[in-house]
């Protein structure tokens, strides 16, 4: 099952490293990453495969949110289907 992780906040050193480490620890495979600076905001969008994830989706979402809080970032994970449904016919 694919999911989209979005990371939004102030740019700093080590965001990508921290997020990808956390994902690797939970056996989440990163499929694609894009990142930009939008109006001085760091914005990263990641597509991941959570099929082999070692924790439940709920725990993964909570862990990522917690990680974000520590770095003053908003990190959320959502199943891919919601974006597909809303933006493609």
């Amino acid at each position: 099952m694919n999911a989209i992780i979005t990371v939004i906040g102030r740019d700093r050193v080590g965001i990508l490293a921290a997020v990808s480490t956390s994902l690797a620890e939970r056996n989440v495979n990163i499929l694609d990453v894009t990142q930009t600076i939008l109006q001085s905001n760091f914005t990263m969008v990641m597509m991941v495969d959570v099929a082999g994830c070692s924790v439940s989706f709920k725990e993964l979402a909570a862990d990522l949110e917690e990680l974000g809080r520590g770095m003053e970032l908003s990190i959320r994970i959502q199943r891919e289907e919601i974006f597909d449904a809303m933006h493609s016919v």
Partner: protein, 452 residues
Amino acid sequence: MINQKDILSTINMIEQQHLDIRTVTMGISLLSCCNEDAKTACENIYDKICRYAERLVPECEDIETEFGIPIVNKRISVTPMALVAGASKTDDYVTFAVAMDRAAKSCGVNFIGGYSALVQKGMTEADKKLILSIPEALASTEYVCSSINVGSTRAGINMDAVALMGRIIKETSEKTADRDGIGCAKLVVFCNAVEDNPFMAGAFHGTGEAESVINVGVSGPGVVHSALKEVSGQPFDVVAETVKKTAFRVTRMGQLVAIEASRRLDTPFGIVDLSLAPTPAVGDSVARILEEMGLETCGTHGTTAALALLNDAVKKGGVMASSSVGGLSGAFIPVSEDEGMIAAARKGTLCIDKLEAMTCVCSVGLDMIAIPGDTPASTISAIIADEAAIGMVNSKTTAVRILPAPGKGVGDTIEMGGLLGSAPVMPVHPESSEAFIARGGRIPAPLQSLKN
């Protein structure tokens, strides 16, 4: 991979523009619960509701987490209780409401609808007993919602029921006077009620429905408002197109959640209701959408036309996004639940007469309107009759959910809290409708041709 801009726009809709699923409502048939003994019937009701809906709340919460979209309400609707209670030899129908309330609490939902009777043409003994028990039933329960259908395009308007409902609304308000008459916020009088409505207080599970079903109501006034800000000053064709596109997206999300909930709960998917349902939160108002179209204050001249466009465009956009559309499907204009409506009513621009005109072009009716506590029952009945006539003649659903404010008058405000919001008391015409309502009988069904 999906376009980054699209991903961020969805997240912005959820975080900044109050996009949410307003309700996932499970409809459950209680016809199999009928029993001559009322106590047994109530046990059957409690058991069946709990059996079907026990996983409703946890599954919806999991969907919220996985899709990252809030589901504000999880609710249950049941067979009109007069049909179930009618089989029991008892005059005390309040026990049925108590059984519903208990089941709602056990399942963790925030409302249960279906303390209802359909009396558009006439009243059975059971219908009458149920209607007379409404004030007590709503005062002694927390989550039970009641609705009565008093008219339809095919049957006309049952004016005896209309007269009775005026008195019942007054009595319900008085019985919950210590809480600003909150009982009336859980009581709706319909014309052309629908069987698959997921929204409260008017939801019930019609007899033409399956054993159980999942109906979903979407929301998104804030999203529509933000989209319209982008096309400021442009012609109405552009406005309509913008609303359609937005409604499409919002409804696709509703459809996705509905299918997912249906799968997880192993319950057939019923409908997605395409209603724009506001909340009292700033940025989640239907009135502000109308104002965005160029009206200084909602309720001024032009409001009805603006609402007609909005309502139609929402349906056109939504209908292609869902495999099955139903329920009420239209823009709601509940005064107390809409920050912009509250402001317009306080200012005096939005009055009951204008709201009545607005209900001709949108769903659903005079909704969550506070009126002075000393308003005569016959005036309330006459308001219901006017609204039912609009529904009957225009073959649409209309409703009245009106709140006589105990001990309060024009200029006062009633506070109900939460999604029910607060409502400024609005003036009603002081001239009497007493003799009109006293006539009783039936207003015949209207001609369906020669439409002008």
